[in-house]
């Protein structure tokens, strides 16, 4: 019952935001365009690169497109469903967590659903387009589709949970900017659209086992395209569970350390 209540609260807040977005569409268009353009340029980057080179570490154009596509879907899902987490830092500084503590619902869900990243519409649309185009071009069979769907859900969960956990660092460092989360998505955005094989072992270990960003896109795509054995797929849901637990735990500790603003 508490879980049903909490998720009800969460979805209602999200739905209310979607309704208000539809009433004030200027932001929606700019943001969705930003999301789409970012992805078009990712596509352009790969297209330009592969017009000059045949492959990187044995990965071809279509396989690389799948990497970028799945990464965009994960980022887009995070922005659509849990963009409010980015506000954790400014809420901590302004004392805006206060009211949320006095309400009967998990604070993390209240904060996460407090905003919708409108760029997500562009990101998701273009992300799916890249993934599907890459999927077909790389000749990945239809049989993988159910696994692909699961991988998408897990990718969204891992991405969202990791970003939220990194944003929650602002419970301690008192800055309006979620610099750790920003650092995470920027470096992830740079590194995880390349095959793991180009990186030194230390980077691979970090991306797989410390901050499991590789399970968002690299591992599933590598399995679909035969660069990794199917056993690695087991790690995808495991990473999702671990990341969600991490986010919930960091947030809980953060709330204990929260000392509001002013006196």
């Amino acid at each position: 019952m508490p879980i049903r209540h909490a998720s009800g609260v969460y979805w209602r807040a999200l739905a209310a935001h979607v309704r208000s977005v539809i009433e004030y569409p200027a932001d929606l268009w700019i943001m969705a365009t930003a999301g789409a353009v970012w992805n078009v340029l990712q596509f352009a980057f790969l297209a330009v690169l592969f017009a000059n080179v045949p492959h990187i570490e044995g990965w071809g154009f279509h396989e690389m497109l799948m990497l970028s596509g799945l990464l965009s879907i994960a980022g887009g899902a995070n922005a659509l469903c849990f963009d409010g987490a980015w506000n954790t830092g400014s809420m901590v500084i302004k004392g805006d967590i206060d009211y949320r503590i006095t309400r009967p619902a998990p604070v993390i869900l209240q904060v996460g659903s407090s905003h919708i990243g409108l760029q997500s519409f562009g990101e998701l649309a273009l992300g799916f387009a890249m993934l599907v185009y890459g999927w077909i071009g790389a000749g990945v069979g239809m049989a993988w589709i159910p696994v692909g769907a699961l991988a998408i859900v897990c990718a969204a969960l891992i991405q969202t949970a990791l970003v939220t956990a990194f944003c929650a660092v602002n419970f301690w460092i008192k800055s309006p900017m979620s610099i750790f989360a920003f650092l995470l998505i920027q470096l992830q955005g740079g590194a995880m659209k390349l095959p793991l094989g180009v990186f030194p072992a230390a980077v691979r270990v970090v991306a797989l086992f410390i901050v499991p960003v590789a399970f968002i896109n690299v591992v599933p795509v590598a399995v679909f395209t035969g660069h990794m054995t199917a056993w690695w797929l087991v790690g995808v849901p495991l990473a999702a569970v671990a990341a969600v637990a991490l986010a919930a735990g960091v947030y809980r500790l953060g709330l204990r350390a929260y000392d509001s603003a002013g006196h």
Partner: protein, 265 residues
């Protein structure tokens, strides 16, 4: 020194100190810029090996990436958010009552915040130099002109940023605008992939925009991909953008400022 210049200087110094005091910002900039630089170098080393692509070999690509890192640190590390926030939360109404030119004051602050990225850029370059030993500038003149093209990046970055920030008069959030600008800048500057790799029509499109001056111009001068005359031509084009964007900013602001009352609520 005239009064207006004194105000400019004061704003530059305040913005510089404010950013510098924000110590996590340095480490962050270094981690972000350094990390991106390493990722980029890893990819190019893997792709180039002992060969070369479109006139770039591993040695020149090292210098190219480091130059891109400096430009990116300068422009991505500046305090664009402060201008946007003032528009979004209606504080701009307060700024309008101050006896200073809004655009000029924001330019001073922005450039001050860009200067504060110097330690990050210096440390990053030092580290990259020690790790990767990139080639020096092709001639001393080229080195000097490279430096000049970097100096012009200060007003150019402001011009692009300011114009894009003014879009906040029509939106509720700045983030999307920032991403759009940074995405276009990353791609069309040559930061993601050198313009020389692109098909002709895309190169033409890039050169019709102010973005190539953020990596392609200084690196082309530094690596000797253009001669002195060509370098001066690039720098002249860069300067023209600076002037053009400054007046474009004035024009858009005049139009946008009618919206001020809306955000003030």
């Amino acid at each position: 020194m005239t009064h207006a210049l004194a105000v400019d200087r004061a704003l530059v110094v305040i913005a510089f100190k404010r950013r510098l005091a924000y110590k996590s910002g340095w480490i962050f900039g270094l981690a972000l810029g350094g990390g991106s630089m390493l990722i980029s170098l890893t990819m190019w080393q893997n792709l180039l090996g002992d060969g070369s692509l479109n006139g770039y070999d591993w040695a020149s690509m090292r210098a190219y990436t480091i130059i891109g890192f400096i430009a990116a640190t300068m422009v991505f590390g500046a305090a664009d958010y402060q201008i946007a926030d003032r528009i979004l939360d209606g504080h701009i109404a307060v700024d309008m009552t101050k006896p200073v030119d809004f655009q000029r004051a924001r330019a001073a602050e922005y450039i001050g915040s860009m200067i504060s990225t110097a330690p990050t850029a210096a440390l990053g370059v030092l580290g990259a130099w020690l790790l990767f030993d990139p080639p020096g500038p092709v001639t001393p003149t080229a080195g000097l002109l490279t430096a000049l093209s970097f100096v012009l990046l200060f007003p150019l970055a402001f011009g692009i940023t300011y114009l894009s920030v003014l879009v906040c008069f029509w939106t509720k959030r700045y983030l999307g605008i920032m991403w759009l600008r940074e995405a276009l800048l990353s791609f069309f500057s040559g930061l993601m992939i050198p313009l020389a790799f692109m098909p002709g029509w895309l190169q033409a499109a890039a050169w019709a925009l102010p973005f190539p001056h953020f990596t392609t111009t200084p690196s082309a001068i530094y690596l000797g991909r253009v001669d002195t005359a060509g370098a001066l031509g690039l720098i002249a084009a860069e300067a023209a953008w600076v002037v053009g964007l400054w007046y474009a900013g004035r024009l858009v602001f005049r139009f946008a400022v009618r919206k001020v009352t809306v955000h003030g609520g």
